[in-house]
Symmetry: C2
Subunit: 469 residues, 2 copies
């Protein structure tokens, strides 16, 4: 069954129509139903067509959210939480219509607690906004999924990115969540203490729930002290295997590397052309070290020893911020660089994550698949976590290319699962990965369904995502 | 309402009687009903009397667990999972009777994956067993709650301990759980990949569920590389405030301290007498640093600067294992040392956890309470997490002492909650902290109840723990 078929759901037209009227009356200009705006709030980077909500509410407070949820609950109308819309698996699509609750105007930073290294934010604050705000505090928020996503959305999808190898994912960096449940009740999942054994871990249940259990209205986040020293650099390797071996040794030695990103030869080619990097198109690792002056130098030296032993190098690294910024800008621009490999194509990003002992195998077999399928599809990976992305460059107008891409993604996921991996390391399930979730966790998905039904018996919170009911 | 009243629950005598017969028939000698054995399997270190199960099954495999759960489910008989019985809040008591499923014989280490720094174990493996097994691998499992607890029990209570400030708690170190649900179905919550965004985080839901959602039959754990160098030492401070300030600066500076344990003056007095430590009875920090040779020396120097600035010191540290072992043995023997402060008394350990900015206030007010109540009650804390323990030395034969202790604990918890803290940083809720969980999380506890009902509609899994239904 193709994704476009899975995504179809029955609409509650009568309820939606009634709710639209009440919402307009209640919220006035903050509630909009214009098509352009609804289009902006519904899209997917998979092959599933956009599915528009029937209206968009710009919530300004948790009270707004609560009032809107109560209206939708009464009339059994779907609610789709919306942050910045950077979801990669159809997370903001509205397969049964309903109301998009846009929290981008809930963007206050409520408190920063220097002594405790934490802060409390509204869900519409983006990660860049937060780091800009923190600039003079000596603190920073480390999770960096690439896009300037909202912290609410990052929480809801359990986002991670380049720094996760050292600082963990959103799972590790959210201390507490305030959320409005489908029945309109507001809960707080935990106090601000650094750890707790007080009951079920509802914080971690909300992190990664993709808006299907409630709307996040406030988040307490861990912060990190800005390290005394940061160095970074790029190290080329003769083969992908050698690069991945270097990652494994680095992790095994306990080197507290802050970033260790794998870029395959094709992706390097694109980045060299797009960003003017002075490297050869061979597999490379992009690294960053955080610590004291001595500590980062020691880390870089130890990594260099590992790389040299594996035939890699020269490892060029620098403590100069401008040089590092250029490298990481190139890494973050990998998507745009890739588009240059096939002008006019759409870039579809898919992700899997495997135990790192299988990472080289998994990428090698995937590269072979790419060649066999005749695809143009560069690879970048958060190698320290075993997580990698394939960017499929597809002509969406050609149905045969979409069919081929779906087959490729299916094989990629089967391969990752067979290696003890997961169908998504950081993008989430959304609409795009539901089939693979079933394959990955089997009966455990029924437990997820039971939890969903117990909290959202009418299935109004982001229905048609993660699993079908 | 006193704890002993909360703990009472209705028994299903008919169902229990039938199940006993079937279990005996099915499991033979592995199923026991002798009183001495049942007593060993039911106890509490709170003031709640022991509540015995009706029988004890020594499970040898997940198939045994599954078969036993099916029998109990059919006859609606309570199941109490049992590891080593080191629970501190009545976790293994059987308030409605039922069957204790003892997993201590499920103690196989199924696999150790060196390249991935993980392992798969059965729940009866203890943390010391695992570290003994790993001795020659260059790897170790860092979580150390003091007791040689089973890894199943540590998972179920979200245990942590002295190393959590660097390595996190069980929440951060469990990659996946296999569990038998109340309906007898076996699920696996995640694959072995380092991170995942695949659906609800059932792993974290099982971690800390205290046996109320299922019996853990297998656990995949993260491991750490043994650091190149370990140093440690003790630093005295003139006041508790100065010691806690030193902790805050240490954390803020991002010093990757592996252990930073606070011992108050009374606890130091007990440890000096019991373990022959050559220190004065003033507040002290016990520290350990993990890293490279240069790294740990640098960390120790930086910490020393912080301590000196706050009037602390001299900070005596050593890389010699024997000296460190003596210090940490003294720290781990704190409980036994304390008993010497009041021979014949029972030691009741209670824990709370607050944001570290409030730790000094919270301990200072608690020390004042101890004096006001005329209690003998030393304090130790995992200060880097804001978590501390008060050991109440109580004559259990005197009801007025129990009443006083209950009042003291109530005030301690109210204080921690008012400071944004939690009623338990690592011991769990069990029977002892149910009231405080309601105070701490309010409506969120109803969400926990809804989840519990959806997975265990007959309330057979460790009933009467965490919350009442």
């Amino acid at each position: 069954m193709a994704l476009k078929d899975i995504a179809k759901m029955k609409r509650n037209d009568a309820g939606i129509s009634t709710a639209l009227g009440i919402l307009k009356q209640t919220f006035g200009e903050a509630f909009q139903t214009g098509e352009a705006l609804r289009e902006q709030h519904a899209h997917t980077t998979t092959y599933i067509p956009a599915q528009l909500p029937d209206g968009v509410l710009f919530a300004k407070s948790s009270d707004d959210v609560q009032a809107a949820v109560e209206i939708c609950a009464e009339h059994k109308v779907p609610i789709i939480p919306f942050g910045t819309g950077t979801s990669l698996e159809g997370g903001v699509n509205a397969p049964a219509g309903g109301i998009s609750i846009d929290v981008s105007q809930m963007n206050r930073i409520i408190s920063v607690n220097d002594s405790d290294l934490d802060c409390v934010v509204e869900p519409g604050v983006t990660r860049e906004d937060l780091n800009t705000y923190l600039r003079d505090s000596g603190l920073f928020f480390p999770i960096d999924p690439g896009a300037n996503a909202s912290l609410g959305g990052m929480t809801a999808t359990r986002a991670s990115g380049t720094n996760a190898v050292r600082y963990g994912t959103m799972k590790d960096n959210v201390l507490s969540v305030e959320a409005v449940l489908p029945n309109g009740r507001k809960i707080t999942t935990a106090q601000r203490a650094r750890k707790s054994s007080a009951g079920y871990d509802l914080t971690r249940l909300m992190v990664g729930s993709e808006g299907t259990l409630g709307i996040i209205t406030q988040i307490t986040l861990k912060l990190q002290g800005i390290p005394q020293a940061i160095t970074g650099g790029v190290c080329p390797f003769p083969t992908l295997d050698a690069a991945v071996e270097a990652v494994i040794y680095t992790i095994q030695m306990g080197l507290p590397v802050a970033r260790i990103e794998l870029v395959n030869a094709l992706q390097m080619k694109a980045m060299i052309e797009y960003s003017g990097l002075n490297f050869e198109p061979t597999p490379c690792l992009f690294l960053e070290f955080h610590g004291t002056d001595n500590g980062v130098a020691e880390q870089a030296d130890l990594f260099n020893e590992i790389a040299t032993e594996l035939g890699g190098g020269p490892f060029k690294w620098s403590a100069v911020q401008e040089e590092r910024t250029k490298l990481w800008k190139a890494r973050h621009d990998a998507y745009w660089a890739s588009l240059g490999l096939r002008p006019g194509a759409k870039g579809i990003s898919t992700d899997v994550c495997v135990p790192i002992s299988r990472l080289a195998d998994c990428i090698r077999e995937t590269e072979a698949d790419i060649e066999e399928f005749g695809l143009i599809a560069p690879i970048v990976g958060h190698a320290g976590d075993g997580n990698f992305h394939v960017l499929l460059l597809i002509d969406e107008e050609k149905p045969e290319e979409i069919t081929m891409a779906e087959s490729f993604v299916e094989r990629l996921n089967n391969r990752a699962l067979a290696m003890g991996g997961t169908c998504t390391g950081e993008h989430g399930i959304g609409q795009g990965k539901m089939k693979f979730l079933e394959m990955e966790l089997g009966g455990a998905v029924d437990v997820m369904r039971a939890i969903k039904r117990s909290i959202d018996p009418d299935n109004i919170m982001n229905p048609g995502k993660i699993f079908t009911l």
